[in-house]
């Protein structure tokens, strides 16, 4: 079961990474980042179970907090950009790109 959990974590991380690279809707990109954080959480929980060490679960709590903070700030930025550019396409917010 641990092996399957780690493999599932890798699959979910790959889906999230490809989605963050491929999709142009910034809200979907943020959701893909959440998915990647969740994949990492799953790996932490699986290894915590494998070694019988609850420290991994404490790290998961920290990751959840960071994810919540990231979503709050990220969506604030999305709203600010939408107010200026009337768009949630990442291609339209390229002012700082090289």
């Amino acid at each position: 079961m641990i092996e399957q959990a780690v493999a599932l974590s890798g699959i979910l991380f790959a889906i999230g990474a490809v989605g963050a690279l491929v999709r142009r809707n910034v809200i979907v990109v943020l959701m893909c980042i959440e998915l990647m954080l969740n994949a990492v959480n799953l790996a932490l929980v699986a290894f915590s179970r494998q070694w019988g060490d609850p420290a991994g679960q404490v790290f998961v709590l920290m990751v959840i907090v960071v994810a919540a903070a990231e979503v709050a700030v990220g969506l604030g930025i999305v709203i600010a950009i939408f107010r200026n550019r009337e768009s949630v396409n990442v291609e339209d917010a390229s002012l700082l790109r090289w």
Binding site: I15, G52, A67, A69, V73, E91
Partner: protein
């Protein structure tokens, strides 16, 4: 039985994730398939003896974070507009190939079977067990977390606030 349930919830998680990434038209439907992924992951956490984390997963992710996403979608009044998806096929192909390649490499190095899982003490993964660790060994990280949340709260309010003084 447990193994079967695990695979069932794993399949739900992967299907929800794919549904979110592949749904090009409706962001709300994508967010709801993300909820399915989160709930399935919560069930998997419980199967891996992480009871507190499983409960928090459902409370925080399915209950709060995805709701914030839905609020923003509602606030921005996004219709099923064309977002210019479908362009840059070369970049997309490279991205998909890179993702699949990394996944194959990862699954390739993953051993077929780990050693037998460690024996667990009673109450492993419960709130008492995790909380005791959180408030002793990791209390500094826990306190810094509160600063992070405060900074994120102030930052989100300032970023999303409408400027009223004209500056």
């Amino acid at each position: 039985m447990n193994e079967l349930l695990f695979q069932l919830f794993g399949a739900i998680a992967v299907a929800g994730a794919l549904g979110m990434v592949l749904n090009l038209r409706n962001v709300v439907a994508g967010a709801l398939s993300l909820v399915a992924t989160m709930v399935a992951l919560g069930a998997i956490y419980v199967m891996l003896e992480a009871y507190l984390v499983g409960v928090l997963q459902i409370l925080v992710y399915a209950g709060a974070i995805v709701v914030v996403f839905l609020f923003v979608v509602m606030l921005l009044n996004l219709r099923d507009q064309a977002l210019g998806e479908g362009r840059q096929w070369f970049t997309k192909t490279v991205a998909v190939l890179a993702g699949v390649g990394v996944l194959v490499l990862f699954l390739g190095v993953l051993p077929a079977a780990f050693s037998a899982p460690a024996d667990l003490e009673a109450g492993f993964g419960g709130y008492r067990h995790v909380g005791a660790l959180l408030f002793t060994d990791y209390v500094l990280a826990f306190e810094v977390t509160s600063l992070l949340l405060l900074a994120a709260m102030v930052g989100a309010v300032i970023l999303a606030k409408r400027r009223t003084d004209g500056s």
